[in-house]
Amino acid sequence: MIIEMKNIEKSFGGLEVLKDISFGVDSGEVVSIIGPSGSGKSTLLRCATFLETIDGGEIVYMGETAAHTDESGHAVYVSPQELRHFRKYCGLVFQQFNLFPHYSILKNLTDAPMRVQGLSRDEAEATAMDLLGKMGIADKAKAYPYQLSGGQQQRVAIARALAMKPEILFFDEPTSALDPELTGEVLKVIRQLAEEKMTMVVVTHEMPFAKAVSNRVIFMDGGVIVEQGDPKDVFDNPQEERTKQFLRVFER
């Protein structure tokens, strides 16, 4: 298991957003998370990547516990220094790309490996150019984010996350901010990563993509996992009424 999240609880104020959610991802697995807006998908990813703190439950990366619930029922995290070690395991691709606008594309990819991981410039640039090549945008290395299309920016964001060599990469609706004609190029690189056995969790509304690429689909609603399983089973033969209802909307 790359990551295991057990009995995750998370509230904002009085609002329970994650209610006893448990799931794990194996090495090389691609998991899609689908579900209506407000069901807690982003919150789950943000908890997994330590942008949010859980209220209860357990987060385990590579067999090492990052957070667990103590006797009093409160979630306790490892020290901030140790948490930095856990951050190395995971990457996150945002809906809004969140590239650094004042850095060139190349620097977006090399700055964190150099400043956070201590790589030399040569190493970092070699990795970065390699990744940009894979993303089909090697010619944009010297450009700045504003000069790129949304699809290109998102591919840079994926490359930036990969430059940190994470064990697992999370995607939060990576194509939702894109014009329809640009989603294909982003989905293509995610598909390519899946073929290379990159471990990934993708929150998406692109049902055909989820069905074709993922090993497992999770349907979330109201802060719980309603149904999960093989994509063919979940999409073609959903067991739960809520899943059926949700999928019906996408059939049209």
Partner: protein, 215 residues
């Protein structure tokens, strides 16, 4: 008094004016950043004190503040303020301008989308690295036009040092004009301020251009 004598007498004042200007910027630009960060402190009393400081600095005339800094120590503690004139001017200017710069910085910092912080956090940058490498460079670009305005105002505000009878260019212009019954000193002072601000505008637009490589 000939024109050249006038000019050379006043040039000493120009130097003093420049000294106020330069020391104020050197002090208030960094201090403003500290104030802006304290303004967002986790500790409510710190935030309260900083807010009060900013509103007093912005809500009262700088001229009055200068008088308080200069005469305050005498009236409050009976101190001899003989050699306190210039330091009082600098303290008054720096604290006043730091408050204005702090508000400009705060506006700039708040305009950076949270996604920038989150992207940096996930990549493993420390809080300090995030601020210095990701946030601050973007803030500086955003606030440049407001900073330019403030710097131009400062060039003109230096004349307020005349309230403490400090012999900067404005005080000297008044004195010489009165003693020589001549309008020329005011003209010289006017040209001086204008040229100074012209230089400020050129320098600042260069700085802004140098940050034009991204949007």
């Amino acid at each position: 008094m000939s024109f050249s004598t006038m000019l050379s007498t006043m040039s000493a004042g120009m130097l003093r004016t420049f000294l106020i200007f330069a020391l104020t910027l050197i002090g208030s630009l960094p201090l403003g950043m500290i104030v802006a960060l304290l303004r967002k402190s986790r500790f409510a009393p710190v935030r309260g004190i900083i807010k009060a400081y900013i509103s007093v600095m912005r809500g009262t005339p700088l001229m009055l503040q200068l008088l308080c800094w200069y005469f305050g120590p005498f009236y409050l503690f009976g101190w001899n303020i003989g050699s306190w004139r210039f330091p009082a001017i600098i303290v008054g200017f720096v604290l006043n301008y730091a408050a204005y710069f702090a508000e400009i910085y705060r506006g700039g910092i708040e305009s950076i989308p949270t996604g920038q912080y989150e992207a940096a956090e996930v990549l493993g940058y420390t809080k300090f690295q995030t601020f210095m490498r990701i946030i601050l460079p973007q803030v500086i670009k955003i606030i440049m036009p407001s900073v330019t305005n403030e710097v131009i105002t400062l060039v003109k505000d230096t004349s307020l040092a005349f309230t403490l009878a400090y012999q900067e260019v404005f005080s000297l212009a008044k004195q010489i004009s009165a003693s020589q019954t001549s309008f020329m000193p005011f003209l010289i002072a006017g040209v001086f301020y204008f040229v100074a601000n012209y230089v400020v505008e050129i320098v600042m637009s260069r700085v802004e251009k140098s940050m034009d490589y991204y949007k």
